[in-house]
């Protein structure tokens, strides 16, 4: 049974996604417990997979028992093990949060399909990360995207429009990727990633291959929300329910980033993406523009969720920049930032959800220091995550930026170094705007009395424990992983570097 462990995380999610509509039709509460159980088991298995990959190197799992170019294989190596562990851990924490948040935001008869869709989304995300087959990646990409469209559309009133816009962009992305796969297949005659890698090594680059790479870069770039292709992201993040934003922001864009890292660095190879077409350079330039653009747009927003969405565009830019540098430090920085941004964004979106839960809004201009007194733990978590976002030393946010900066110095790209420094300042500006209001803005007396009255009437000041605990776990994880960063880099990420860097 344990020899099947590489395939188990996506399969467990898939089984739960299928089983929830069957089992939990009558008992709505059961769907949550099934989802929670599946997520914990899948997290355990992905941690086990990671340890396996670290001790044994790359492991191939063959579906149906067919050898790779004939059948479909899953590839478990340190990189895929690391990323599945990260997203499953974050998903576990957010699912705990979803218990009360969903109960409040979504009608009861929708709980069952909601949890089923979350499970299917996680199954798609895990499948994308583990797969070693081009077409299988497309199928799981579509599972993940379709379930996201549905999950976004149960948010507030504007959410169906946001979801529809995402659907159009996402389908174009999937179509471009599939067309790229078609050209690659016609050139090489194979769909297996490892096989294609070996074949391309012996084949001189031709126009169809170059166009295939361009198409895949555009397609996966849309999924990752690289700068000019980010149009769907702000609306989708803003209008989705809080638990959906919190599960989509850390995982949704990261799977695009991972797919780009996997396909361009491990399959096409460094030579093809730097010398034949300037894919890496284009990616890093677009990401640099995206970092500045996202940060500036985030400063202009008045709604915390929307601000976080624009900040996501900037943060995804860091990952793209790190990948595009084509240097070991840059790659490590990008991978560390996948972990890092996942934790930070999940934590910030959970706090935004807490604010909406207690206050009924999350507008920055209506915050004042009553928040600090009403919700001390939430605001502390927000501050910690914001500090990590800016890159203050003991948190994990500092270290990924440190490695990215080392990468820019290594490749002598001083402009990108300047972009990283400037964007840290911009991050500081837009987060301190919120923190300043939370801690130092005195509220008016009359309003204070009213607020106290409201607080007494509700009987509690802070949000309930099941909402608070996930926020605190994530905030704590930011510090813990900050102290563990050398260990993570030495034992995991150094082994995950592609050949030829």
């Amino acid at each position: 049974m344990l020899s099947n462990s590489p395939a188990l995380p996506p399969l467990i999610y898939l089984l739960t996604g299928i089983f929830i509509p069957l089992a939990a039709w009558k008992w709505k509460k059961l769907s949550f417990w099934l989802a929670l159980g599946a997520t914990s088991v899948a997290t355990l298995f992905s941690l086990f997979n990671l340890s396996q990959a670290l001790s044994q190197g790359s492991i191939s799992y063959r579906f149906g028992g067919w050898i790779p170019p004939i059948g479909i294989e899953y590839v478990l190596d340190p990189l895929s093990g690391f990323v599945t562990s990260v997203i499953n851990f974050i998903a576990l924490v957010v699912i705990i949060y979803a218990y009360r948040s969903v109960a409040q935001e979504i009608e009861e008869f929708r709980w069952t399909p909601f949890y089923a869709l979350v499970m299917l989304f996680l199954s798609g995300a895990n499948g994308i990360i583990m797969t070693g087959d081009f077409f299988n990646l497309y199928v799981f990409l579509e599972i993940a995207s379709l379930s996201l469209y549905g999950l976004i559309a149960i948010g507030d009133k504007k959410s169906p429009v946001a979801a529809f816009r995402y659907l159009i962009m996402g389908t174009v992305a999937g179509g471009f990727y599939l067309l790229g796969v078609g050209f690659t297949y016609l050139v090489t005659g194979s769909l297996n990633m490892g096989d294609v890698h070996h074949i391309l090594f012996n084949l001189s680059p031709s126009p169809p291959l170059i166009v295939a790479m361009t198409l895949m870069l555009i397609g996966l770039g849309i999924k990752m929300a690289v700068f000019p292709l980010h149009g769907w992201l702000p609306d989708a993040y803003t209008h989705a329910p809080s638990s959906v934003s919190a599960i989509m922001a850390p995982i949704g864009t990261k799977i695009g980033a991972y797919a780009i890292a996997r396909i361009f660095f491990f399959i096409f190879g460094v030579k093809l993406i730097t010398q034949v077409i300037p894919a890496a350079q284009v990616l890093s330039w677009l990401s640099a523009i995206g970092i500045v653009y996202g940060s500036i747009m985030a400063m202009a927003q008045n709604e915390i969720k929307r601000m976080l969405a624009y900040s996501s565009i900037a943060q995804v830019g860091y990952i793209g920049l790190g990948l595009g540098l084509v240097s070991p430090y840059g790659f490590i920085g990008a991978l560390l930032h996948i972990l890092n941004h996942g934790l930070m964004k999940a934590c910030l979106f959970l706090v935004a959800g807490n604010l909406r839960h207690q206050l009924g809004h999350s507008r920055i201009d209506r915050l004042d220091d009553s928040i600090r007194r009403l919700m001390p733990w939430s605001s502390a978590s927000f501050t910690l995550a914001a500090l990590a976002m800016i890159g203050v030393p003991p948190t994990v946010g500092f270290f990924s930026k440190w490695y990215l900066a080392l990468g820019t110095i290594e490749t002598k790209n001083w402009l990108f170094l300047a972009v990283i420094l400037i964007s840290s300042l911009l991050n500081a500006v837009y987060f301190f705007r919120v923190i300043e209001r939370m801690y130092f803005r005195r509220q008016k007396i009359a309003k204070a009395a009213k607020n106290n009255f409201v607080a007494q009437k509700m009987g509690k000041r802070e949000v309930s424990l099941s909402l608070l605990l996930p926020t605190l776990i994530l905030a704590l994880a930011l510090v813990v992983f900050g102290f563990l960063n050398t260990w993570i880099i030495k034992t995991i990420l150094m082994k995950a570097l592609p050949a030829g860097l």
Binding site: L14, G17, I18, P21, F63, G64, W66, P69, I70, G71, I72, E107, F109, R110, P113, F114, A116, L117, L120, S123, G127, F135, N136, V139, F140, E142, I143, L146, S147, Y149, G150, A153, I154, K157, P160, L179, F183, Y185, L186, V187, T188, G189, S190, L191, N192, D195, H198, I199, F201, N202, L203, S206, P207, P208, I210, V211, A212, T214
Partner: protein, 122 residues
């Protein structure tokens, strides 16, 4: 005016994209060419070509003369499981988004619609 300029950008992007794709298709080997890498028995690195393998071995392996079925359900069965999941996802989404709570009498039903209208006014 601004609208019109945006239109022109859109059209030209579309045309550039089409030109790019046609340029790529010029480099493909002609359709039906038995010497292209898709239709040969082995790839450059002598790994077996999947398509030729399927044609040769499908009946022997799965006892099914229809190769498409054999590939769909056996060789690449995991893709088909994914495909089923996609359509299940679509079904669940339509349920999640469109179905209103089942009501026994019409009065409650009207209340539901009223609530939706209320929501749309909000």
């Amino acid at each position: 005016m601004k609208e019109r300029r945006l239109r022109i950008i859109d059209y030209s992007l579309l045309l550039i994209f089409l030109a790019l794709l046609i340029y790529a298709s010029l480099g493909l080997s002609p359709r039906g060419d038995l010497n292209s890498w898709v239709n040969r028995e082995e790839s450059v690195v002598h790994s077996p070509n999947a398509a030729a393998y399927y044609i040769r071995h499908a009946y022997h392996d799965t006892h099914s003369p229809n190769m498409v079925t054999a590939i769909l359900a056996d060789y690449r069965g995991y893709d088909t499981l994914g495909e089923e999941t996609v359509i299940l996802t679509a079904g669940i989404i339509c349920f999640l988004l469109l179905r209103r709570k089942r009501r026994k009498n019409k009065k409650d039903n009207n209340k539901e619609i009223k609530a939706e209208n209320e929501r749309s006014r909000k």
